[in-house]
């Protein structure tokens, strides 16, 4: 807690980098948001050149071809379902890939906007629900500082997506919304302890008490953090293409969420509380740390 300025600085730097990257590099959106086709091929030993020539032979225009551990992902701007399906069939036939090892997704442009809008609505309502819950069960200052930590996590996760140029798909949105819940989960655990310790606070400043609270929950913080992150990281490492997408956002979000509950939400909350007359008096009496 005494080092909160350093922690704030770290968060500040991360946020600046994230926002900078979002502003200048932007995000790569998946076909789900702009329409197009994704063809996934697995179980093939074909080279990328073979795939490229087979794609042009099958009438696929401007394909973006990406290699995966056991095959390829081909993205095109094709929004006509029937055309996309026939291109994929030709492509698979040319590469001698069984129909059972292919996947074709085509999404129209309006539908993409629809998915995005519904996700945004879900996000907005989630925020309100959480604000209301914490304000009623705890107090609004916790709700606000918890929300600050949460936005911090969301921005950093998106910033990393932008930095590494990873595609944002519906799974990313789902993962982001989960981070929203999980980041708060961690924050709530710390807030719970602070509130408990506030009850008989008379022998030290609010900041010192908050600091002690953090130390008390530190072992728990490490262990629960590990327990949540380990399964998600294994998913990221060995989970297969679709799940990796999900796991990538979750991993960053969980790490950032765990960090922000200790480094951001709690110090901010303590600083805010210290301004209350009751705790200002304590501060005058016991001030030892800054």
């Amino acid at each position: 807690m005494g080092r909160r300025k350093i922690l704030f600085a770290i968060s500040g730097v991360l946020l600046v980098v994230a926002i900078g990257s979002l502003a200048f590099r932007g995000l790569t959106f998946g076909i789900e948001f702009q329409g197009g086709t994704v063809i996934t091929l697995t179980n093939t030993s074909a080279t990328i050149e073979q795939v490229r020539s087979a794609a042009s032979g099958a009438g696929v225009s401007n394909p973006v071809i990406q290699t995966t551990s056991r095959g390829f992902i081909i993205r095109t701007g094709e929004t006509d379902t029937v055309a996309a399906e026939s291109q994929a069939t030709k492509l698979a036939a040319a590469l001698k890939i069984a129909q059972t090892d292919t996947q074709v997704s085509t999404i129209g442009p309006e539908w993409g906007a629809n998915v995005t809008n519904s996700a945004l609505v879900a996000f907005g309502v989630s925020m309100l629900a959480i604000l209301a819950y914490i304000s009623i069960r705890f107090e609004y200052k916790m709700a606000v500082t918890g929300m600050v930590a949460l936005l911090h996590d969301a921005v950093i996760t998106l910033g990393i997506y932008s930095l590494v140029g990873r595609e944002v798909g519906p799974n990313t949105i789902a993962a982001l919304l989960t981070i929203l819940g999980y980041s708060l989960y961690d924050t709530i655990v710390v807030f719970h302890r602070i509130r408990e310790n506030t009850e008989n606070l008379s022998k030290k400043t609010f900041m010192d008490m908050a600091n002690d609270s953090l130390n008390q929950v530190f072992a728990r913080w490490v262990n629960t953090g590990l327990a949540s992150v380990i399964p998600v990281v294994t998913l990221l490492l060995i989970g297969g293409t679709t799940l990796k997408d999900f796991a990538f956002a979750l991993t960053i979000g969980l790490l950032s969420g765990a960090y922000s509950s200790i480094a951001l939400a709690s110090p901010l909350y303590a600083m805010w509380k210290e301004r209350e007359p009751r705790y200002l008096a304590l501060r005058k009496k016991f001030a030892t740390s800054k």
Binding site: S105, G181, L243
Partner: protein
């Protein structure tokens, strides 16, 4: 009742719940299988796809699940009534294999045939059917393979028009003969979701779904005699085999109503036509009624009704009576009124998943989850020792409850596991581990503060569960809007997360806490070192 009895009672309640969960989990069969009933024998055999080739093997009937796999014998002709018969694994389909008993599919004797689920075939006098086995958890289309299509209107359409479109889409999909196909309205009535699990000919299916919806009227007498007998509801007319005398454009109104004719009870459909239709209709009915000839009403080439003409109708207003139920009459009226799709639909999303691909994803996902769990389990035992073992048990209890609930929902048709859902399960496992850690940490902490084991268990678990409740409630609150407002795969994620959170609390309240309280009074004081709580004051 003292608190000790209460703890045992909670554990007993948990045992009942776990047995319930296991009941839903036990039929851990392969998702697809062949089952047969021959005399008193029955059994099943795993299949990979939703269609299979049946045929003769050297020694009996075989089922070939995939094109490249070998024929898998399901029953020996000689031992057809012996359900426990074991048969050599090396059986292969053999072109020369002849059986004294003929295989009959739909009335025709065949050597081999490709069958869809639900088809019955007979061998000699024994009847077999290809059935989809009941898996304990239904797999979503992204895991099983198949075709998923979302259709949306080009311009916003009202709910009534979308309902009609849904009925028409249902008729088309039924015509494809895919078992377990679903057609439903989504996204506030602004999208139709069509799911065809296991469909092989994706391109053909897309064509059928995307067609215009042509309503045609055909005189049955004008058809070739061989076809005339075939004209029954649901029959798909071969392309080009018929010539319609009018199309659905002439229909102005179509309503279902209760029959007023006492000699023909039930419901009937009354139709109104425009001037052109009235004229054609008068001609056709005038020449048809003396012989009570039938008129077939076709939707996209499939017979939806084939009423006989009872009188010459010159005024256009017509009643089709046929002892309909209210539902049948309503459906026919809807088709007549809107054979052509009432809304201009477009494909908004299509997904064709090969079955192997989905299964690969599932296998990798499950494997990753297990590895993750194993690492967490080892870490817990190193860190918490005895309590780590309790944590294992807590996770096991959570897992059985969780999967049991999912299986129960699956059976009720309310849940199908998708990839995002799988990610939700992985996250829930992490959160469940969190809850145990909260309880154990607080327990050790209270011991360090100088409490007895017993009171540390009591006070520690109380504080921990209050924290857990709030943390779970916040996660739950964030998942609800996701479930309600988000479309598509995200819904599955939100659902598994919400169920996971509830199961987490149930496992903590019914297992972890009572078990910790019991241990704190029995084993922990005897071997505090093993439980990693050496500093505790003795009782």
């Amino acid at each position: 009742m003292d608190s000790r009895q209460k703890n045992y009672l909670l554990l007993a309640g948990l045992v009942v719940l776990l047995i319930g969960a296991l009941l839903f989990l036990l039929p851990l069969k392969a998702a697809d299988s062949v089952s047969w009933q021959a005399g008193t024998a029955s059994g099943s055999s795993a299949l990979k796809e939703s269609k299979a080739v049946i045929g003769l093997t050297a020694d009996g009937i075989g089922v070939q699940a995939t094109a490249d796999s070998s024929m898998k014998p399901i029953a020996s002709l000689e031992r057809i009534t012996d359900s426990t018969a074991t048969v050599p694994a090396s059986w292969r389909i053999s072109a020369t294999a002849e059986s004294t008993l003929p295989i009959t599919v739909a009335g025709a004797v065949v050597k081999s045939a490709e069958l869809s689920y639900g088809t019955t075939f007979t061998v000699g006098s024994s009847s077999f059917s290809l059935q989809e086995g009941a898996a304990s958890i239904t797999q979503g289309l992204d895991l099983r393979g198949g075709l998923s299509v979302i259709l949306t209107p080009k311009k916003p359409a009202d709910a009534v028009a979308m309902q009609r479109a849904l009925v028409i889409m249902n008729t088309r999909v039924n015509g494809l003969g895919v078992s377990e196909a679903t057609v439903q309205l989504e996204n506030d009535n602004q999208a139709i979701l069509v799911q065809l699990p296991g469909v092989r000919d994706a391109a053909g299916a897309l064509e059928v779904i995307g067609q215009a919806g042509q309503l045609e009227f055909v005189e049955v007498a004008s058809l070739p005699t061989t076809l005339q007998a075939e004209v029954t509801d649901g029959f798909k007319m071969p392309a080009g085999s018929y010539k319609p005398f009018m199309t659905g454009e002439v229909i102005t109104t179509a309503n279902a109503k209760a029959s007023t004719d006492v000699t023909r009870p039930g419901y009937e459909v009354s139709i109104g036509m425009n001037a052109t239709g009235t004229k054609i209709w008068a001609d056709v009915t005038t020449r048809s009624f003396p012989t009570q000839a039938r008129i077939a009403i076709l939707l996209d080439g499939t017979v939806v009704s084939a009423p006989a003409v009872n009188e010459a109708i010159t005024g256009g207003d017509t009643s089709i009576t046929g002892n309909f139920t209210a539902e049948e009459a309503r459906r026919l009226a809807m088709i007549l009124q809107s054979g052509a799709l009432p809304v201009d639909l477009q494909f908004s999303q299509t997904m064709v998943v090969g079955p192997t691909l989905g299964q690969d994803s599932l296998r990798q996902g499950v494997f990753a989850a297990l590895v993750g769990l194993a690492i967490v389990a080892v870490y817990f035992v190193v860190y918490y020792r005895g309590l780590g073992v309790l944590n294992w048990l807590a996770l096991l209890v959570f897992f059985v409850l969780y999967i049991g609930v999912l299986a129960a929902m699956s059976r009720a048709g309310q849940f199908a596991l998708s990839l995002p859902g799988l990610a939700g399960i992985v996250l829930s496992i992490g959160l469940a581990a969190d809850t145990s850690v909260l309880i154990f940490e607080r327990f050790s902490e209270e011991i360090d503060m100088g409490r007895t084991y017993r009171s540390a268990a009591k006070s520690g678990s109380f504080h921990a569960i209050m924290t857990s409740l709030d943390a779970d409630a916040v996660s739950f609150a964030s998942a609800i809007p996701l479930f309600i407002f988000a479309v598509g795969p995200v819904k599955g994620f939100a659902l598994t997360l919400m169920i996971g959170l509830v199961c987490d609390l149930a496992a903590a309240l019914l297992f972890t806490i009572p078990a910790l309280k019991i241990l704190a009074e029995t084993l922990v004081p005897k071997m505090p070192g093993f439980f990693g709580v050496k500093g505790g004051a003795s009782k």
